[in-house]
Symmetry: C2
Subunit: 579 residues, 2 copies
């Protein structure tokens, strides 16, 4: 029996459009003799639908679409469709009113419904907000083949693999005990660096432990801050990979179940990205393309400072949308170095994008004059530095508003962490492209970009070639000069911050490893530096709260999975510093 994984890229809430995508995949699958088509978790509404699920009419519309899909489906193929269903006992017995479900559609009808059993409530996940966990093991028989159904998190509880239990029950163990031929997992698992290795190691372990074939179908595409990487995969009973769909693009992966051997046969295995840098690049390009496409904005505008952050964002945008859809705006001030303009222009030439130069000196002067009655006698300081950043932010938004462009903001994770950025200034934008990349990662990605040929970049069909891609994309001088906000003469970032190597290590320990000040100091960092950084991170919460959505590429991003109080006091004992 042939099975296929439709690795789809849904638009959140677009039930009609998503249903059409699913039908198209079903027709293609039928042409290849497929009997069962898998789609990702909540494939009908896209993942995550968030509070759209609180509208009863949205839930009703989904139920209608499921019935229509069952009728429209070619009769040769059965479909596992991700949708929500009502919890009939919620009213009388308590519990949430919905299940996160999979509907089995076959022969014009809904044959069976399966409910997700393990509901994640960490990081960006809020599933207990909407769903009641299913209590039953899920399986069905199709043409004599016994198939166990799991949904995303259901497979993330192998206590042998994790060294601990995450949930009380383990659906895969239940299915193995029942004796099924194939375990399918319908997922919407967002990308983070190195996650595919973890997924594959975990699934391989479960396949081997239970001697079970596993078909893992993942969603692909960018939805706001989340990027889903696809990379759907199939394992045979020995834990060998028999098929892998491509990463960061839609795909239809077909695998064959041998009814004699009761195992999956080898199929097509797409290779994975060759480095973390390549992975991140592909993720960000997809994230920018999908955000602009799904918001129906075709063109983007970016402030080009001549620095490395905006250079990287411009390169990503060019690859995502094509050079004709990217406008770079240079806004030099009297404090700007000459190279801020020449470096930005060199970059634009390498990318083949248009630029505009808008000097901001007159506006700075007019702000000074306008504020003179209030500011007279005070010293030039942060207020004046912020005015420059906000003039630029205002000009960029004026261009975005006038021409219907999407403004991309260019701040990195290190500066978002310590607040080395201006709210309503350089933080402006509809999407923060590299907000989850520490500065050291920004450098690494730029060096990688300069080192690969277009052929080595595993371009997708939609990826746009970068104009003068003959080696250097990011001008060497941008890579080599000391980073500076250029908001006062001679300023460099390291006037206010430790070196980015040190800063990023401290931030990683603080943010990702949840280490205390004491632990970070023990790891070799200076006490005063650690204390200062922790203070800066805490104080910058009010800025991050108002930041645009930032593309998430780590396991802990400042975004929908970062929920910190603003008006709080964390005295020293709370962060673990001995007094």
């Amino acid at each position: 029996m042939k099975l296929a994984i439709a690795q789809l890229n849904p638009i959140i809430g677009d039930l009609t459009g998503n249903a059409e995508q699913i039908l198209d995949a079903a027709k293609t699958a039928v042409n290849q003799g497929v009997r069962l088509l898998l789609t990702p978790e909540l494939s009908l509404c896209g993942y995550p639908p968030r509070d759209l699920l609180l509208n009863p009419s949205f839930v009703v519309a989904m139920a209608i679409q499921v019935r229509q899909l069952a009728q429209k489906l070619p009769p040769q193929v059965a479909l596992l469709l991700g949708t929500v269903t009502l919890n009939p006992t919620a009213h009388a017995a308590g519990g949430k009113s919905l299940f996160n479900s999979i509907a089995l559609l076959d022969r014009g009808e809904i044959q069976q419904i399966f409910h997700k059993r393990l509901l994640p409530t960490y990081d960006v996940f809020d599933e207990y907000r909407y769903f009641e966990p299913g209590l039953q093991s899920n399986a069905f028989t199709l043409d004599g083949v016994r198939i166990g159904v799991t949904i995303c998190e259901d497979l993330w509880n192998d206590e042998e693999f994790w060294g601990k239990r995450n949930y009380q029950v383990n659906p895969i163990a239940d299915l193995a005990q029942q004796g099924v031929d194939i375990i399918v997992n319908l997922s919407a698992s967002p990308y983070s660096t190195g996650k595919q290795q973890v997924r594959e190691a975990m699934l391989r372990h479960s396949a081997q432990r239970y001697r079970q074939t596993i078909l893992y179908a993942n969603q692909v595409g960018g939805n706001d801050d989340l990027i889903f990487d696809g990379s759907s995969i199939a394992f045979n009973q020995s834990g060998e990979i028999v098929a892998r769909a491509c990463a960061f693009d839609t795909d239809l992966a077909i695998v064959e179940f041998d009814e004699q051997k009761r195992d999956l046969l080898p199929g097509t295995i797409t290779t994975s990205a060759k480095s973390i840098d390549e992975e991140i690049w592909l993720a960000l390009v997809l994230g920018v393309r999908d955000y602009s496409r799904k918001c129906r904005l075709q063109q983007v505008v970016i402030g080009l400072s001549g620095g490395i952050d905006s250079a990287l964002v411009a390169a990503i945008a060019t690859a995502a949308l094509g050079k004709e859809n990217v406008l770079g705006v240079l806004m030099p001030s009297p404090y700007s170095s000459d190279h801020s303009v020449t470096d930005a222009q060199d970059l634009a030439k390498n990318l083949g994008i248009k630029t505009e130069v808008i000097p901001i000196g007159d506006l700075m002067q007019t702000y000074d004059q306008t504020l003179e009655p209030l500011f007279t006698g005070t010293q030039f300081g942060l207020a004046e530095e912020n005015i420059q950043a906000r003039i630029r932010g205002n000009l960029l938004m004026a261009i975005a508003n006038k021409f219907g462009y999407l403004l991309l903001s260019t701040g990195n994770k290190s500066e978002m962490a310590v607040g080395y950025c201006t709210l309503y200034g350089d933080m402006n934008g509809g999407l923060a492209v590299i907000a989850d990349l520490p500065k050291t990662q920004v450098y690494s990605l730029c060096r990688w970009l300069n080192s690969v040929t277009p052929e080595e970049m595993s371009l997708k069909d939609q990826d746009q070639p970068i104009a003068n891609h003959q080696g250097e994309i990011i001008p060497t001088h941008i890579l080599e000069k000391p980073p500076s906000a250029e908001l006062k003469p001679g300023q460099v970032d390291q006037d206010s911050l430790p070196s980015y190597e040190i800063l990023d290590d401290i931030l990683h320990r603080l943010i990702h490893k949840h280490q205390s000040a004491e632990q970070i100091i023990k790891a070799g960092h200076q006490t005063n530096v650690v204390e200062k950084i922790i203070q800066l991170v805490t104080k910058a919460e009010f800025k991050r709260r108002q930041a645009p959505p930032g593309l998430k590429i780590t396991d802990r991003a400042f975004g929908s999975g970062w929920r910190m109080p603003i008006a709080s006091i964390r005295r020293q004992e709370a962060v673990g510093i001995r007094q």
Copy 2:
């Protein structure tokens, strides 16, 4: 036996400061012969601590503080302290690593620990993110009195009262069956309009149904977007109120349990607010005071447009912080009406606050000149209107940055809903004071404010008198003129929007009642108006995502409990319109 409710106002994360507050309350209670002191849910760290709980060192610091508090506590009094505790079986058996707990401290030691059983995961609540539900009924005996312990949500599952079950178990029924003398409930229940009536009706119903005394201890104070109203309350077995602590302020309410009658004796009953307007006023004043105090910013700056929104915010800020701590900034443009300045100045005179006038004509001209090379040949439109709003936003932030003020933003819920506001312009600020008030509510509150005397306003000790409070605070002309953003000549809000009565009714149905377009049209609204409003609300999601925290006063605010996708498509069938 005397019991006391310490209605505390903790600072999130400030374990030392919160512990000191608790000790102070314990000493006062001892002086009044109290044997058992109740504190709110998570009283040690304040509610909600959010992702601070993900830091192991923070959890350790709490455990240390609990032990220290046990030792420092006067020996005459026992304490019910809100804290988190570790789930010892999480690692082996699955489940979250923490419990939301109450520690009973007595005679220098932790005597018993009780875990919250019902964990809310709706609206602003994320308790499954951190906590494992407790499985046991919680009770202890103190000096022969049997006391049942519940934590906040534990009492919100009376299926008779709600007409449905919310959770599978009902802790109060369990305790009643066990036969306890008193049920205490330690809460952190945020304010929304009319909620106290619901709480009291619900608790009265439970008291009567189970013939149980109930002591309900609630947190008070503003924590970011959430305002906790206090109003702790006690019911005797007949469901009569025997004590009520004040609303929107700290308090220590003492009640006496008669060991012969096994019932609570009548105590002091503070009266509740006399109207919804008064409730909202008190809530917002507390919200502003606490946000600025807990962020350690004493002074605020507000852009005064001469309109009703900024007038109300200035009045609230004056009551919260005192007239000497409020600066109003008038920023007239060539499009501003004369009355925009005179009305704002009349208001400032009524409030006794300082003002500065900063005309923005020169800046508008300089922006025009600066952008001319790009904008030449285009028509004056939204881009130019936004520039004005952003000039004002930039000037206000410059003043805030220069002098260390907190900028209060003044947008109301109606405009936040439909996006009738400028991102990085009038949306700028650290706190959005009236972001959860529909425009019609803004009018109602201003009329109420003009109608009450200071004596009728139930001022708290910290409340600041408004300077010329001799009747009119909001100038009549501000109340009577047609609302306008004044971003082009002759503009009024109703050029772009239906009347606020109609708009607010549609928004209420859409946002609070989760009605479909079809239902809203059926209620008597015009199809094209409803369709347009739904479209505007959907499209404005990107603005709301970047808005400052807004003080929540309804059951559905745009804030931490509003989780909508941005890049989504809701076609007509999804919102329920028949085609």
